[in-house]
């Protein structure tokens, strides 16, 4: 014991004290509790309860009550400050553990579990900016993401990245088409359907209304089918990017006499153009609202017809130029062979 509680005068206190000294903590606790309830101004009872209570919070409450009755008790004050420190340390440990668990769940792709843990976390520690930011990543609903980011920004208004994301989401909330695409990519068919429904009626351009109607039809087609697997937009972008480079690679391989060691560096370098062009075409045609485009061109990404057409055309040109270079080299060689062929230098 860090301090000696005062000696009791009445019989219940005497019994409680005897029980405490005999090591019968539970009995002593019950007796002191009964005494404190009967006489809330009994300083001795509160001081003993501060020692005998099981939980840290109960000990603190008991000692706070004791200090309210006698603010000049230095031992109680010292004990209370030690308990406060202990409580802070325990809280800190719990907090770190919970956050680590949520991070692990996020990394493992268990979004639901991460969401559950983070909600628990922010309920207990609402002043944690990192937790709000993480929560904004795992919740699917745009409105929930906005709330999480707003809370993070209240705690740290200088977080530019969070601010930019918040602006994008707020803009998206008023753009039903973008909202529909956002939900559809995440497999939230009911919300996507609702957003496309609004977009099909209210979008400013005919092309956007048509797009929304088409998406609406395809969602209704899928809506009742359970187990539909949505492809990750990044996977779609990469998948569609790979096609033309594979064709180009085969052509370069044929051109270089099926020998990787004689590959022309010029043609290899031109292959980068095919990859870049293919990425632009795939992005413009199949993933116009991919994160890559929204980070470059704002929340609407490439969904606006003008940047989509421009980048799509640029992509086609970037693909066509290396193919043109390769075919012109092949054509030069063909002319040379043609010359030899007609001079009967090759068997035919």
């Amino acid at each position: 014991m860090l301090y000696s509680p005062p000696v009791a005068t009445n019989s219940r206190l005497q019994q409680a004290l005897l029980a405490a000294r005999a090591g019968r903590r539970n009995q002593a606790y019950e007796l002191f509790l009964a005494e404190a309830k009967a006489d809330p101004k009994n300083l001795t009872a509160w001081l003993w309860l501060g020692e005998l209570s099981e939980s840290l919070d109960d000990k603190i409450i008991a000692l706070e009550n004791a200090l309210e009755l006698n603010p000049a008790n230095p031992k109680a004050r010292d004990r209370l400050s030690i308990l406060y420190r202990e409580r802070d340390e325990t809280n800190q440990r719990r907090r770190q553990h919970l956050l680590a668990e949520a991070q692990a769940a996020m990394r493992a792709g268990r979004k639901q579990e991460a969401q559950h843990l983070l909600l628990q976390f922010v309920e207990a520690y609402e002043e944690d900016e990192a937790a709000w930011l993480m929560l904004s990543e795992v919740v699917d609903d745009v409105a929930d993401q906005i709330v999480a980011l707003e809370n993070a920004l209240t705690l740290n208004p200088r977080n530019a990245r969070a601010k930019a994301r918040l602006e994008k989401l707020r803009a998206m909330r008023h753009d039903s088409l973008a909202l529909g695409d956002f939900y559809r990519e995440r497999g939230r068919l009911a919300q996507a359907e609702a957003a496309y429904y609004v977009a099909a009626a209210n979008s400013p351009t005919e092309a956007e209304r048509r797009h929304a109607s088409r998406e609406l039809d395809s969602i209704r087609d899928l809506y009742d089918l359970s187990g539909f697997r949505f492809a990750n937009p990044t996977l779609t972008l990469l998948r569609l990017t790979l096609g033309p480079p594979v064709l180009y690679g085969l052509m370069v391989f044929a051109q270089s006499g099926l020998n990787m060691l004689t590959l022309s560096p010029r043609l290899c370098l031109a292959g980068l153009g095919v990859v870049m062009g293919s990425l632009l075409v795939a992005g413009a045609s199949a993933a116009p609202r991919h994160r890559l485009w929204t980070s470059l061109f704002g929340s609407r990404g490439l969904s606006h017809p003008l940047p989509r057409s421009v980048l799509g055309m640029l992509g086609v040109i970037l693909i066509a130029l290396p193919f043109a270079l390769l075919l012109s080299l092949a054509f030069d060689r063909l002319l040379l062979y043609r010359d030899l062929f007609y001079r009967n230098l090759f068997p035919h």
Binding site: F230, V246, A330, R333
Partner: protein
Amino acid sequence: MFPFNDTEPNRYSLLPYMTIAIVLLNAVITGFEYRFWRTDPSFLREVIYLYGANPYLVGAGMGGGALSSLTSTFLHGDIIHLLGNMLALWVFGRRVEDACGPWRFLVFYLTCGLFADVVSSIIYARTDIPSIGASGAIFGVMGAYLILFPQGRIRTFVPIFFIPTFPKIRAFWVVLYFLAVQIIPALNVLFKKEDYGVNYWAHLGGFVACFSIFLFLRPQAFQRYFSKMPI
């Protein structure tokens, strides 16, 4: 067994523009071959030697290289060769194009043709006889059809004791039949050095290239495939 129609409807597009364009292009090129062949009988042989894929020249880094590999896919030796290939392209290409979209289908078709040509150039490395025809690319398209629509039904012409019948046969069996009839001659070419006048290894090469179809599928078709839904 001659497949001549796929009985299932399209899902995404009304007409297979690219399949039709490839069929027309092949027909026009073969028409030109015949047109000039009639006035100059050596013309066809020259076209085949210059624009066909000659494995020896491809391996030696001579001749048209990538260009010949590409042009050989659009050349045919005679009308029967053209008709057989184009019929197969029409039967199997229509729905594969529907699942990819026209431009991606074109790149897929050429990729299969190029891969078939690379495989045949490796296997027949010492041969200087050029190979022509779209069959390598078409085997790729057939393979893609098998992957995407194994349950599709193909209307097929099967003469039984000179009596023509037109049963609808599962695509799985039709494609498997065409694949099976390539394997033994291909092995004979490899181990017994037999010469059939048909580039069986290009067919098998094209068929292997069919797995690249996953790089060309529309996002919706890709998702439907992995959700085990009809594409």
